[in-house]
Amino acid sequence: MDEWKPNPAVKPHKKRSWYLAWKYKLMNQRALRKLCQTGAVLFLLVTVIVNIKLILDTRRAAYEEEEESAQDYDDEMLNVEIPRHPVSNKKVLDVEVYSSRSKVYVAVDGTTVLEDEAREQGRGIHVIVLNQATGHVMAKRVFDTYSPHEDEAMVLFLNMVARGRILIFTIKDEGSFHLKDTAKNVLKSLGSQVAPFLSWRDTWTFVGKKGGEVYGEKHAKSPALSTWGDPVLLKTEVHLTSVEDAECHWPDTELNRRRKRFCSKVEGYGSVCSCKDPTPIEFNPDPLKDNKVFDVPVAVIAGNRPNYLYRMLRSLLSAQGVNPQMITVFIDGYYEEPMDVVELFGLSGIQHTPISIKNARVSQHYKASLTATFNLFPDAKFAVVLEEDLDISVDFFSFLSQSIHLLEEDESLYCISAWNDQGYEHTAEDPSLLYRVETMPGLGWVLQKTLYKDELEPKWPTPEKLWDWDMWMRMPEQRKGRECIIPDISRSYHFGIVGLNMNGYFHEAYFKKHKFNTVPNVQLKNVESLRKDAYETEIHRLLGEAEVLDHSKNPCEDSFVPDTEGKVYVMFIRMEQEADFTTWTQLAKCLHIWDLDVRGNHKGLWRLFRKKNHFLVVGVPASPYSSKKPSSVTPIYMEPPAKEEGAVAVPAVAAAEQT
């Protein structure tokens, strides 16, 4: 095409041009004919050339475009989309509910949503909540109403369920022994006719709509004390309502959209889902002035206790100076509901495939969470580590903001913790007071990145070692004599009752009466005197001004400490060497503080409050402060009881709080 030059002398090849040329041949005016011929041919040729070029260009461009969209920018991963379930337009659900001594199950439209035939667990009343519009399971609970107080929990739960939801009940084994009248009346108000007469080892199934119709109920009486009622199987149909009817009509805001998503999926969170005046999910606490921890990432370590997580995040997001953008919730396992809670609050959550078992699993989860935190916030020098079963004090961040610089400046520090192991209602008094302790309390603490990256991460216990991460961190190889800073009154509160190493009794004995600060903006008073050397000066000053108590009295008795306020008292106990805690353990026991292992000590010294007086305990002669003991005073020795039950419990229980 390029070499072709339009030349008037050459006869055009094209048919049309040839035809014209032939026509003009008939004419006699040669000059005019030739001119016209040339002009026409030129025009036509240029047209043709432009035409061809255009076509070629267009084709090439189209080809390129096709190619570029095909290659290069395609995601290598195919089929990343999750196949959608076909949307069923069914309006009726088939529900099957089975109750018997050893097995319960619930099937909705042929899908088993509950099946429990495990031995020696799952006793009591199983409750399932379905969404009345979609038929999805929104909550699954079991209340062991054979045991006391569980019926109260059930009533609480049922009251929280929104009107219109479908409730399914079934009893496994025994569910009536501690089912009190209040609970029976609630069940009756739901439409159950049998509930008021439920008795020992009856089997029972019930399906109804909260505040509406009853879809079915079946019941079999136990014929005798030693036997169970016959298994019952209830088959019934539930009519679904429209989605609009099942939802509340909150104003359309970003927050309410999150709320709607949450409330259409799960149940049992009470007023957060009420249609009228739902409880807020954004808290906007006052910002902190000069907040030094605003950019410190917060890692929330969670398992599958979504109700705990909900409570925990509420208190965390209400704390002054919180920065929601820095919060990441790490969920150990692919649990949906905790993730729903995280999304409700608009936070980011990360799920972690469980590695190993029991304590080692927790430990691996911790490691992954800490590493991820420092990866996600590469310029962070610290991380705040929290667990899902903690309430966070309103001045938690204020407390950290005032003390965090110490962690960076004082190399003899290991951590800052919000928790005082010995800070019970009757032993903690001063919200502005801080201590240095040789033990690592955990339960809301700050970890320095250099400590983690340089020391802990490289030698973190491997999955096959079934160690507790916190016990490991307390080991001398890791701690290397460094200390933690703690407040007198804890800035976190451990409310978890269900856990790996936790049960109701244990919680009642050791955690329930823990003091928790509720005063905002506490100005800490002795921050600078917490540095290594300054603290010694401070302790010597304290001991110097302290009044020595009457060592002839029984230290367990209330009268051991005079009825004064605001004074400083000191007592001396026997402590032969650094690891001799015989007397201390006995003293801790009778004072009803943490006695399962030694906590809260600093060079053989314990600091607490009794009757609003600062109360110092010095172990003689192991403690360097023994020199303060007047020669006339004989250190108190308390003998352990002959059979020490505590010793057995220690290993299992010591780590309990972390779970």
Binding site: L20, K23, Y24, M27, Q29, C36, G39, A40, F43, L44, V46, T47, V50, N51, K53, L54, D57, T58, A61, E65, E68, S69, A70, D72, Y73, D74, D75, E76, L78, N79, V80, E81, E254, Q325, Y334, S348, G349, I350, Q351, H352, T353, I355, A368, T371, A372, F374, N375, L376, F377, P378, D379, K453, D454, P458, K459, T462
Partner: protein, 461 residues
């Protein structure tokens, strides 16, 4: 009669042909301009080939993001190139009104901005406002590479790119993430299957073909073409950085598979060595970067990165490569100043140069200098006692960024070829006994140093 007829026919034919031709020319021009940039250039300054659509779209976009308090900065290489020419003037009179539309009116399909992830909260409100303003938008998300190296964590996917399209112009917003090693990272742009491949001409985007690594830029607020925008304070160095910003992620999955086969050495010695090697590498990187000497992970250190995303605990030293053209005489004093005395120096700048510095507790830092030939590069080795010379050949390579032990460092982009040249096809199998003179598969005997040069080319301290 017949004659007139024929003339009329001819004239008509010519006219038609002319009209046809004009139409085609117009269409062709239209097509060309569309291909190069804006589709229409009608309103303001159509004579000078300017495109006010672009200017309007950029202005709207800047309004949108400032109404949501999102700090973005301009990284469009074409505009920054223009800006760089006038940078002095722009700096000195940042608020001067501009007489003509100089930067934002060149007809282009898109304008590129950057956004630092941590400076905004991912509010959904932005997109609603954008839609109300008439923007169509596309979000490209993918896995979070900061969690990629970790076993079994499944984070949420993170947004890597946004494209806002209005009329014929698009805004490409690249999201930058801070990563360990004090640098910024942006992800590749990969379309998922359901995405609209024709949303914008993706292939022409300046960012997204590969992931990239950048230093944190200092920003400057300027007013260009009557629009207030933030730009990198030094556009030319940004453009320079951009030209070789390609980033390689470590092969975490393969590394995990490797550790399945050969469990990691978790002994105290290994932990200690890794810690020392890491701090030595950090110190070396700091020293060389301060001198402006470009280096990359070589030999065992490179193998460790490529194979297991970590330092090989039994490797006993840290190996770096430097092109001989980047050699500076200051290197030795700079390292000595940093507390790393010279341990030995083999070869000379013209031939087979190799430097070794003594780190803490027997951990050694080796710097090999690479010599470029037409079809390969090589570095030299010297046996101290015999004066024998060795040559290690490598295929030619370019340099990419990567992250290694919390450090942004270079590695050869063609890492596999590099590692295979050095360690042979069995590089995946750990070897504990390694002889630098015979084990590498790319070693060649290269004669002996003349004895009179020994004092110069074999220096041991």
């Amino acid at each position: 009669m017949q004659k007139i007829n024929k003339n009329v026919v001819l004239a008509l034919l010519s006219l038609t042909s002319l009209v046809f031709l004009l139409f085609q020319l117009y269409y062709y021009k239209f097509y060309l301009s569309q291909k190069n940039g804006a589709v229409f250039s009608k309103v303001r300054g159509s004579q000078s080939g300017q495109d006010s659509t672009r200017w309007h779209v950029v202005r709207k976009f800047l309004g949108l993001i400032s109404s949501h308090n999102i700090p973005v900065y301009l990284i469009d290489p074409l505009i920054l190139g223009l800006v760089d020419k006038d940078i002095e003037q722009i700096r000195t009179s940042p608020d001067a009104p501009s007489p003509e539309c100089k930067y934002f009116c060149a007809p282009r399909d898109f304008t590129t901005f950057a956004l630092l992830d941590k400076t905004w909260k991912h509010e959904v409100g932005l997109f609603r406002t954008a839609e109300k303003m008439g923007f169509q938008w596309l979000k490209i998300i993918n896995k979070d590479p900061r969690l990629d190296g970790m076993d079994d964590l499944s984070g949420i996917e993170i947004p890597l790119h946004y494209i806002f399209k209005l009329a014929s112009h698009a805004i490409h917003l690249v999201v930058f993430y801070e990563r360990s090693g004090n640098y910024l990272w942006h992800g590749p742009l990969r379309l998922k299957h359901h995405m609209d491949r024709k949303f914008v001409p993706f292939r022409k985007l300046h960012f997204g073909r590969y992931p990239g690594a950048y230093e944190k830029p200092e920003l400057l607020l300027v007013s260009i073409d009557d629009l207030k925008v933030q730009i990198p304070k030094n556009p030319s160095s940004f453009l320079e950085e951009m030209s070789h910003s390609r980033f390689l992620e470590c092969r975490y999955r393969e590394a995990r598979a490797f550790f399945q086969l050969y469990p990691d050495d978790a002994s105290l010695d290994a932990v200690e060595f890794r810690k020392k090697a890491k701090s030595l590498l950090h110190l070396a990187a700091l020293t060389l970067n301060n001198l402006g000497v470009k280096f990359w992970l070589s030999s065992g250190t490179c193998l460790g990165w490529y194979r297991q995303c970590n330092i090989i605990p039994h490797s006993k030293d840290v190996d770096l490569g430097v092109f001989i053209r980047d050699y500076k005489a200051d290197i030795i004093p700079a390292f000595q100043k940093a507390g790393l005395p010279l341990k030995h120096k083999f070869g000379k700048v013209e031939d087979s140069l190799e430097l070794s510095f003594q780190g803490e507790d027997d951990v050694k830092l080796d710097i090999f200098f690479f010599y470029e030939e037409d079809d390969h590069v090589w570095n030299g080795g010297t046996q101290a006692k015999s004066g024998k010379k060795f040559k290690y050949l490598f295929p030619k390579f370019t340099l990419c960024w990567t992250e290694f032990v919390e450090l942004k460092v270079h590695v050869p982009c063609e890492t596999l070829q590099y590692v295979e040249a050095n360690y042979g096809p069995d590089w995946k199998v750990p070897v504990k006994t390694w002889d630098w003179k015979s084990s590498p598969s790319n070693v060649q005997y290269n004669g002996v140093w003349p004895v009179n040069e020994w004092d110069d080319v074999i220096q041991i301290y």
